[in-house]
């Protein structure tokens, strides 16, 4: 089942989910594919587009490509769709804001490189 989060009328949205195999954060594209880059997401406005794209997402769930799709609000300007919430900004980074850097720094320190 798609998990549709609360939206404000008229706010542009994209469909996001996680890949079944890796858990990677992905976004639905205009061609019905999935991309890890939010810039490649199809921006949705209006009830009809929403229903159509969610149906596409459910099809991807049925085909075991993704899990847990939901609509998420974005700002949509010349730079393309940008997440509005901190949670979605961090998801869009495809990794933690600090933890992974620390992990690799520690790793380098530990091996002396």
């Amino acid at each position: 089942m798609a998990n549709t989060r609360k939206k404000v009328d008229g706010t542009p949205q994209v469909v996001t989910a996680n890949r079944l195999l890796e858990g990677d954060v992905v976004y639905l594209t205009a061609s019905g594919g999935w991309t890890t880059e939010i810039g490649g997401a199809v921006v949705i406005q209006g009830d009809a587009a929403e229903a159509h794209r969610l149906a596409e997402a459910e099809q991807a769930v049925a085909e075991r490509r993704v899990v847990g799709p939901y609509l998420m609000q974005v700002a949509n300007d010349a730079e393309g769709p940008q997440p509005l919430s901190q949670r979605e900004r961090i998801r869009a980074r495809r990794g933690p804001t600090a933890g992974s850097t620390v992990g690799s720094t520690l790793r380098q320190a530990a091996v002396g490189s």
Binding site: L20, Q86, G95, P96, V111
Partner: protein, 551 residues
């Protein structure tokens, strides 16, 4: 250390085989996500913000060097080279791929480990004092009790559908290092007037959105009645605990709503019906388990090695590390060493594969091959000869593991927060990193003295913020991160829940706010007073006044 018997090995092997089949059926489409989710959670596999997360159980926080090396292999081969030790003495891998999880579980099973009872509404991995078996103040090793509870709870049919998750902690010492008063059941060992060892039984403690200090429902429970009494508590909870509201389903709510007297009466009544009907462990079986935790034969060791004194005099970094990291061992000539997993600017509780291997090597070289994980997200070498301390320190330095901050302001507990966790409202790790950097000067940290800062990224309180001297709770305000500060919490035998100091602070303000609180403490403390003692004397107001005068 406990070693699997045939039953344990068979049980874990069966679960690995079952889960391998379940993953295969999920990938082939025979199982939907809705069908698969409860199965993966029963095996410790979550789907978090960026990836799957596998939480591996470390029963009562005890690991062998062999097991630690295996965790390193998993970190390297199936993750991104590191793992995260948690406040429940477990380890989490943040980046496993679904199809590889059965292989990870296979590798864990080879070293007698698994990911069972780390998720879902079951009795979770039992936690214990990280100094178990070696602490100077200990009455009895709590791991014997914890292991009995592990075996009793793993396949108990009544516990497969509890109203909510259920956490049990055990301490064998009067100084509570296992936070037993903040667990669904806390067991504290004590002796009665005849010298018999038993338990004080605490029920209904917990953190989360409704922090509650447990109620003592029995002053002394003889050891032989451990399981029948726990069964009676669980039966009352299973019968009366709420299943209609997730937020009211923990036993703490039941105890509060029923009233401690009535709850105790119900438990005692239930217990009277079952106590002599074969629910308890036969003495011979108890002794069999106890034998695994028998103290090792400690080779004689110098109690005041001259080389140690010389190293302290010649190496100030070592002297400072020793002051922070060494605890009294019950055996003369030995010490307990806590290894900080809180390097300045690091992610609390994280260790790289190389660091895990280094700790395993050092545990074998300078200890007896055993390692502990503390709920404060550090590691412990429980048996180090005093004469080996300087060599151990140098080995830890080489591995980037010799930060001399154990128990000090930068030894911060922090949950994974919004950087990893699906439930979080705000980040925890970067807040801990900024605080670590602010207090990076170790001389200043030692001057400040014992101070526990604990950070949770949401109200679920995995970072134990309610029981920090300074607690920090991340909240979401219109999509942005804010942090609420509490003061005066304590997890130990003087259990206390921190009080909210006032309006919350933005991500950019929270480091200054904590610094301001620490400076206020330094300004008002009297001779030798710790932060906790000073707070108890003066209360919240002086801190509040200074903090909000500056904002």
């Amino acid at each position: 250390m406990y070693r699997y018997d045939e039953f344990d090995a068979d049980f874990v092997a069966q679960r690995v085989a079952q889960f391998s089949g379940q993953v295969a059926r999920r990938l082939s489409g025979e199982l939907s996500e809705d069908e698969f989710k409860p199965l993966r959670l029963m095996n410790g596999l979550y789907l978090q913000l960026h990836a799957y997360m596998l939480r591996v159980a470390i029963p009562y926080g005890t690991l062998s060097a062999t097991q630690m090396r295996r965790l390193a292999v998993i970190a390297r081969e199936h993750d991104r080279g590191y793992g995260h030790f948690t406040t429940r003495q477990n380890i989490q891998f943040n980046w496993p791929k679904l199809a590889e999880v059965p292989a990870i579980l296979d590798k864990l099973a080879e070293v007698e480990m698994h990911a069972i009872q780390t998720s879902g509404n079951c009795i979770r991995n039992v936690t214990a004092d990280q100094f178990a078996g070696v602490a100077e103040d200990e009455i009895e090793d709590p791991r014997i009790t914890a292991e009995i509870i592990r075996q009793w709870s793993s396949l108990h049919p009544e516990f497969t559908f509890l109203p909510r998750k259920f956490k049990i902690a055990v301490t064998g010492a009067p100084n509570d290092r296992a936070a037993v008063r903040f667990h669904d059941i806390g067991l504290q060992m004590l002796r009665d007037e005849n010298g018999e060892v038993g338990f004080e039984v605490w029920v209904g403690g917990g953190q989360g959105r409704t922090p509650v200090i447990a109620e003592r429902i029995r002053g002394f429970l003889p050891k032989r009645y451990l399981l029948s009494y726990l069964d009676a508590i669980l039966r009352v909870y299973n019968m009366l605990g709420r299943r209609d509201n997730l937020y009211k389903a923990r036993i703490k709510i039941l105890v509060q709503q029923t009233g401690v007297e009535e709850f105790t009466r119900l438990v005692e009544e239930e217990w009277q019906q079952i106590k002599d009907r074969g629910f308890d462990l036969p003495e011979a079986e108890r002794r069999r388990i106890e034998a695994y935790f028998a103290p090792p034969a400690y080779p004689a060791a110098e109690t005041h090695p001259a080389a140690l004194r010389a190293a302290e005099d010649s190496d100030p970094g070592f002297a400072q590390w020793l002051q922070a990291s060494l605890a009294e061992h019950r055996e003369p000539g030995y010490g307990i060493v806590t290894i900080s997993l809180k390097p300045i600017g690091g992610a609390p509780g994280d260790a790289t594969a190389e660091q895990m291997e280094a700790v395993a090597d050092l545990a074998e070289r300078y200890g007896l091959g055993e390692i502990r994980v503390s709920h404060e997200q550090n590691l412990v070498l429980p048996d180090v000869r005093l004469s080996d301390l300087h060599a151990l320190y140098q080995g830890l330095l080489d591995a980037g593991l010799a930060t001399a901050n154990v128990g000090l302001v930068s030894d911060i507990i922090a949950c994974p927060g919004l950087d990893y966790c699906n439930l979080a409202n705000a980040r925890s790790i970067p807040v801990a990193q900024r605080l670590g950097e602010r207090f990076a000067d170790l001389d200043r940290q030692h001057e400040i003295g014992p101070l526990k800062v604990k950070i949770s990224g949401c109200i679920n309180a995995c970072g134990h913020h309610h029981v920090g001297d300074i607690g920090i709770l991340g909240v979401d305000r219109k999509g942005e991160e804010f942090y609420q500060i509490t003061l005066g919490g304590r997890p130990d035998e003087q259990a206390a829940i921190g009080k909210i100091i006032g309006p919350s602070f933005s991500y950019d303000e929270v480091t200054d706010a904590v610094d301001n609180i620490v400076e206020t403490y330094l300004g008002l403390r009297q001779d030798g007073e710790t932060f906790a003692e000073a707070y108890r004397r003066v209360g919240l107001d002086p801190f509040k006044e200074k903090l909000y005068a500056a904002h």
